[in-house]
Symmetry: C2
Subunit: 462 residues, 2 copies
């Protein structure tokens, strides 16, 4: 563990120190022995000129690995400012899927073309591979896959397969899963384990599994991650509609996606627009204007929706004037409704993401959540009643408050499950139904419930 | 893809149909060809008697794989109701880490002992391995690891290493990472790639990497997952304090943890107590009383905290009586504060989980978030001002509302970053600082800000 990350703080302090001097020797010494992921992390925290200076001093292989680990903003800056020849040599080192990812960070099409051209001058086939990957939509299996997999022929013997493995030593990304191809068509898979168990002269056609689990190139990456997690795959082959094997997606890509999707879901659930510039940037790297931009849209929308509460209260102006104590409980009641609704919506959206809830479960979900809300409301209602009586609010108002709690909790849980279910029906991403959105919807409707119950029970309002 | 999960609905319908008849033949036919993960998923949706009937009809290997995939409740029920001999044979098939996980689901110590004794009668060494794993704390690397790794000796040649690989064919969980041991001490690692590249007579001591990255057995599983994701490891060796190699944690365990931790974080962020019975159960499997239990604690706590708003408003009873329109804006102002605070707290907690924020960054974080809040508040304040003027609320009240928006947004963002930072300082898990908690804290304080600004500006209140 000594060489990992415990030292990134030391690296950062050390770098800032030696960067003050124009001498390169101490810089090289400080960087020595650090993992590319750690160098990338510290470079993201440096200012642009320092970061490019560090980048230029790294040897080619390490620079390529660091480039692969950097967030979009820093990578884009380096690509824009490094000499084209060095970029081409760096990209030449990395696998095509990583190059595609890096090149896609560059926003200008012209610059992208220039980089790909540079790579083509050096390694025309690699550049072609990258172009093919870039043709797939971002966020799909096609963009994640690598063509660095072990491919064997069905009539090979186990012994000769081992020799083939050796020829893939530098290239293949995994040896756990081996693929048997006829021409370009995937006809079977076998594991290294199967190969190790086999007799030397056994044919692969006997050893391989023909019942292949494969994914299409346009499968959403979140779905790829879920399949790998559920079925414990170490790699999944990507097969085109004509049966051609295009590449494999490996479990380590899935780990990165899971982390990224987790951030995305958290942002969506908190009503933050999940734009890549903020989503994939480390906390301090995103400029404040971009953070504001990612948050302000939903804030304004929710603000406008929330103004409905003003209209509701204005409508009941007379009641609020006559019993001013009614207003004391407004934040408590809508706050509790918002909390119950938040709990429900997060539970439902998570269950949907894990495919635990299907379309035809809608009624079961609604009944279950409304029932849960009712139970929670009854428990809280009793507490509210006792507390209000102790505070000397009198029986009628205490009754109004506690009945409202019951109704609002049941209602909030209904809204909290109904809205994501509706979104799915309307083909809207349910993860966009954030907790603040549910809270906002519950606020105005909760007030209507409250003031109507008050109207029914309080004599002063008759 | 045909055999995977698309068919779980069909499997469920088919099973429910054939389970009506006491005849076993159609049941066997319906189950044929399904993946254990899919059978487990459907079994969780059946009632207990049906689920054990399905479980008993599966052949040993499939039953073991299904048992490994089931959620705690269903697994516990089966372990409590299946004959001890069959349980012992099932556990005998699974690797020790999976058995430890299954056995730890059983809540009664007596039953646990009975199961381990049954396994010991059949496979004393396996039972011993499981006991050793159970000695590690749940949620640590020690509980996740497997001892099914390829171990080699430093003086072996590359050629003889291949022969050793063959002897591990049935046993090892991965062949990508190979471990070189001297006695029980880990002295080097090498990848299968390195071995494939080597000359047949090269010694492993020449080939292996001596600068080993290892983890201690008590490392938190979330931390294990983060390291694997950051450094793209396929497996990490777990080394005890005396240098003994205890096992490896593989990337596929990490995928499961990431998914589980993701659910846990979502629950915590929504003020749901993340107890295992609800956390790891599929949506419909958790009984409602347990769902209520997981939600009611935080709801009551937040309710009690939120009653502070009643006290604040009661304190300003006179002001609310004199200008009843002040109460119209209460939900709008505290709602907006709550939304801004939710955005901030989720951003901060995510950045903390990814270690993008460190302890000494506290002041930078606070300034950044307060600044963001101020900017957001200014934007929303302008909108609020224009809207309030158009609605004919008059200049003074419009000014009060829009100034409050500015102040509340800046304040909410400050609270939203300060509280998780404080929690970390106090060694409390910052993920427990939920969005509803921040919203609740902002509600009472936001009202104080609002009514004080009103007091300063509105002539009617002087």
């Amino acid at each position: 563990m000594e060489t990992l990350e415990k030292n990134t703080e030391r690296l950062e302090v050390g770098l800032k120190d030696v960067l003050r001097s124009p001498d390169d020797a101490p810089l090289i010494a400080v960087l020595d022995g650090y993992h590319p992921a750690d160098i990338a992390e510290v470079m993201e925290r440096l200012d642009d000129t320092d970061s490019i200076r560090v980048f230029r001093i790294l040897d080619l292989v390490r620079a390529a690995e660091v480039l692969d680990e950097l967030d979009s903003d820093t990578a884009r800056y380096l690509l824009d400012n490094e000499v084209p020849e060095r970029i081409a040599s760096l990209l030449d080192i990395l696998p095509a899927d990583d190059v595609a990812e890096i090149v896609s960070e560059v926003t200008s099409g012209e610059k992208q073309e220039e980089i790909l051209q540079g790579l083509a001058d050096r390694a025309p086939e690699d550049a072609q591979d990258v172009r093919e990957l870039l043709a797939f939509k971002p966020g799909t299996a096609g963009r994640l896959m690598t063509d660095r997999f072990v491919s064997l022929a069905p009539n090979q013997s186990a012994e000769s397969a081992f020799a083939t493995l050796r020829s893939f030593a530098d290239d293949a990304e995994t040896f756990n899963a081996l693929y048997v191809l006829e021409g370009e068509r995937l006809v079977g898979v076998l594991s290294l384990r199967d190969l190790l168990r086999a007799r030397p002269n056994q044919r692969l056609s006997e050893l391989m599994i023909r019942d292949i689990v494969s994914i299409p190139a346009d499968l959403d990456q979140e779905e790829v991650a879920r399949l790998v997690a559920k079925y414990d795959f170490t790699a999944l082959p990507v097969v085109l509609s004509d049966g051609t094997m295009a590449g494999i997606v490996t479990v380590d890509d899935v780990v990165d996606i899971l982390e990224q999707e987790q951030t995305e879901d958290i942002f969506k659930q908190s009503a933050i627009h999940a734009e890549p510039g903020v989503l994939n940037a480390p906390y301090f790297s995103a400029p404040i204007w971009r953070v504001v931009k990612s948050r302000v849209g939903w804030l304004i929308l929710l603000f406008v929706a929330e103004t409905a509460t003003s209209s509701v209260l204005q409508h009941f102006e007379d009641e609020l004037k006559r019993v001013v104590a009614l207003s004391f409980f407004i934040p408590l009641l809508i706050g509790t409704g918002g909390n119950a609704g938040s709990q429900t919506v997060s539970t439902i959206i998570r269950a949907m993401a894990l495919k635990e809830i299907r379309g035809r479960d809608a009624w079961r979900v609604l009944l279950r959540e409304a029932g849960t809300g009712l139970l929670l409301g009854l428990l809280l209602g009793v507490i509210a009643f006792v507390r209000s009586m102790i505070m000397g609010r009198g029986l009628p108002l205490s009754l109004v408050v506690s009945l409202t709690i019951v109704a609002v909790c049941a209602w909030a849980n209904t809204i909290g499950s109904l809205v994501p279910l509706l979104a799915t029906k309307l083909k809207i991403d349910p993860a966009l139904v954030s907790a603040p959105l549910i809270a906002t919807l519950v606020d105005a409707t909760g007030l209507i419930i409250y003031l109507n119950i008050a109207h029914m029970i309080l004599k002063e309002l008759h």
